[in-house]
Amino acid sequence: MDLELTSDQELLRDTTRKFLQTTVPLTEVRALTANPAGFDRGWWSTGAELGWTSLLVAESRGGGSVSGAGLRDLALIAEEMGALVSPGPLIPTNVVAQTLSRDASDELAGLVLPGLLSGDSVAAWCAAEPGRPLTPDGMTLRARLDGDEFVLDGVKSPVEAGDEADWLLVTATGPDGLTQFLLPSSAPGLAITPLRGLDLVRRNAEIRFTDVRVPASAVVGGSGGASASFERQIQTALVLQCAEIVGATDRVFDFTVQYAFDRSSFGRALASYQALKHRFADMKLWIESAQAITVDATRAVQADSPDAAEIVRIAKAYVAERCPELIQDCIQLHGGIGVTWEHNLHLYLRRVVLHRETYGDPIQARDQVAILAGK
């Protein structure tokens, strides 16, 4: 967590923490496994009232942040959600809301943003494609012009909250280059298939586009002009992923340290064995490092720093690689109980592995870091 918070930010964090603890404790998270959406719509609306959906949206378009630095505020919420493996479409809804706030026409923003801000509607960002790295070059989902309409063909997967979303923001290769479209999830020609998934409450879908016709007014930003927007979306998603991962991992590390004090073997607390103490020292290094780079990345993206693109991918590469390993180590230190369904450890591992693999994995992140370094 950022070590320099304003009192308003502390209030936001504390309010979110209390609300999550009360409404979706881990027992409730487990219960939501049976819920097809993985979250309750009324609950999400209450979260929206606490600011979960408005922080990346300009005040002129109905949003507003606590500190004037909306992404830093939102990262605090993401950390709290990670700490309790909370449900809800936090990343896709915020990515789409931010994009609409920055790039959409007044008409489109007026039509869609109020619902997203109030939590009455939910959006998904259709970006990833099967078997392809998540980069703007050569998206295979095509948008061709037919008269004054665009026709979309292709497949997007995995799409976070894709089955639950009311609105889809689609990143496609258009006649003029990378272009984004906003369409209702009820549009004809869409085949939305829920996917099975590792996380118990965060769901993904595959969405097939077959001759999906959208009007020119569905274009968000200019036709062919979505590259900068795409980069911003990726950076936002990566910051929120890293924040959730460190929130989750910090919690796991914390209760594992406690376990080492509470549990004894051969007449001694586990915490007294040097072999284990050294592993805990390494883990302390990793969690502090993960938090440090996440805060740096959040600040860099927030400030539009020239090196934000690199730092945020450095953060993803480190956090998404190191933290799942750290949690696996915590499982090891718990012994047999650590690999049971009963124990909450796997809920956290599920969440961080989900984030490890989506919106670009550590291998892709390292590759992009090297490419950016060479420029």
Binding site: E4, K284, E288, D296, Q368, A370, A373, G374
Partner: protein, 426 residues
């Protein structure tokens, strides 16, 4: 961790004006490195090197850029750490008297500031800042390993003097140095931590013999010293007699700051990241021509991730200690990070270089990567092993039970040192 003392009131010059003035001076007065390794500068292994760095430090002193964060009454400039950072920024890529950086500026002088008498502070701090006196640490002993408090080197009181006998080892460039801080045992009849004293020792004086130790990379910067009835004035004890562990502990704290890159007194880059970035990745990619190779890109990416994360960590831990979120012993976290990172960077370097790191043309810098790999573990040993570092983190940061020690509560005279132990074989 140390807070740089700030001048009373606002600095008389704002940061931007300072930076501009420093940049102009550095550009006009220091020699550009032109791609030479900034850690070494124009270093050579002979005494000329010392003469050269002392002259450069004197120039820096005369221009008013020496000891930026040291109090003005001891010859410093009394400025906040941001001014030191600015100077480092503008002087990066120029020849600096880095030999003074560690231990003199970042470890020794801060410890003298903490424990010195007024007379000692006035005597030694300005002299070092002027480039007149270079310091070395006499801490480790041949039989000691990381057990610094187990010192066997003895200092016995004789009137107004102490008489020093014993041996120290792993001191860096002792033969180039003028003064040393030396940990010695002054009382054998109390437990080990209560019978130590720290002495200020003139290096070149009767009774001190220095030998150089050749390292795996062929360098001879490390030394061993033998003390044979070396006479030291009693006024040259730093801190109180028999309170040496307290002084040494603080010294180690400054050392951790120096190693982890968070010392406000460093005049060379405070984090390793910038140098590692260059050495470990970008330069290597050019050497191998491998930036288009996905395998090499993974390694370059990993190196940049490690160095940038380390930089972020250094900042976070420094802030955490300053605000009380973590205890001062958390300085061991960047120390651990630094060791682990550099080990990995050394491996990445030879992985990129491939067979050119083990068989190379004369003068090809790629060969140095292979040589550096041989000495890779040094950074995990010097200044206390990473095993001790992990103990400190688990015991003093996470609060876990301390390792059992048999020498804590008995007079040091009765403590066993290096006698063989029966090995169980079945």
């Amino acid at each position: 961790m140390t807070e740089a003392p700030t001048a009373s009131g606002e600095p008389r010059e704002d940061l931007d004006a300072f930076r501009t003035r420093a940049k102009e001076w550095v550009t006009a007065n220091l020699q550009p490195l032109n791609g030479a390794d900034p850690a070494l500068g124009h270093a050579t292994d002979d005494a000329d090197h010392v003469i050269r760095v002392k002259a450069i430090q004197r120039k820096i002193w005369d221009a008013g850029f020496a000891g930026l964060c040291y109090p003005a009454e001891y010859g410093g400039q009394g400025l906040p750490a941001a001014y030191q950072d600015a100077f480092i920024e503008v002087s990066y890529g120029y020849e600096l008297p880095r030999l003074f950086n560690t231990p003199t500026f970042t470890i020794i002088l801060p410890t003298i500031l903490d424990f010195g008498t007024e007379e000692q502070k006035k005597r030694f701090i300005p002299a070092a800042l002027k480039g007149e006196e270079l310091w070395v640490q006499f801490l480790s002993e041949p039989t000691g390993g990381s057990d610094l408090a187990g010192a066997l080197t003895r200092a016995e009181r004789d009137g107004d003097e102490f008489v020093l006998n014993g041996s120290k080892i792993w001191s860096t460039y002792a033969w180039k140095s003028d003064y040393a801080l030396c940990v010695a045992r002054t009382d054998w009849d109390v437990p080990k931590h209560r019978g130590l004293s720290v002495l200020i020792v003139k290096v070149h004086q009767p009774g001190i013999t220095i030998t150089q130790i050749k390292h795996v990379d062929g360098t001879e910067e490390f030394c061993q010293e033998f003390f044979d009835d070396v006479r030291i004035p009693a006024r040259d004890v730093l801190g109180q007699v028999n309170d040496g562990w307290n002084v040494a502990s603080r010294l180690l704290l400054h050392e951790r700051e120096a190693v982890s890159g968070s010392s406000p007194y460093a005049m060379a880059p405070r984090t390793a990241a910038r140098e590692n970035d260059q050495v470990g990745a970008a330069a290597l990619a050019q050497v191998s021509g491998g930036a288009d190779d996905p395998r090499v890109r993974q390694l370059i990416g990993e190196a940049r991730v490690l160095t940038r994360v380390h930089t972020a960590l250094v900042g976070r831990i420094a802030t955490s200690i300053r605000t009380g979120r973590l205890p001062a012993t958390a300085g061991s976290i960047p120390r651990l990070s630094n060791g682990v990172m550099r080990v990995r960077l050394a491996t990445i370097a030879i992985d990129i270089a491939g067979d050119r790191a083990v068989a190379w043309h004369d003068g090809d810098p790629v060969g140095e990567l292979g040589v550096a790999y041989l000495g890779r573990q040094g950074v995990c040993i010097g200044g206390g092993t990473l095993e001790i570092t992990r103990n400190i983190i688990s015991e003093r940061v996470l609060g876990m039970p301390r390792e059992h020690a048999e020498d804590l509560d008995r007079p040091f005279r009765e403590v066993r040192t290096n006698t063989p132990t029966q090995r169980n074989r079945s």
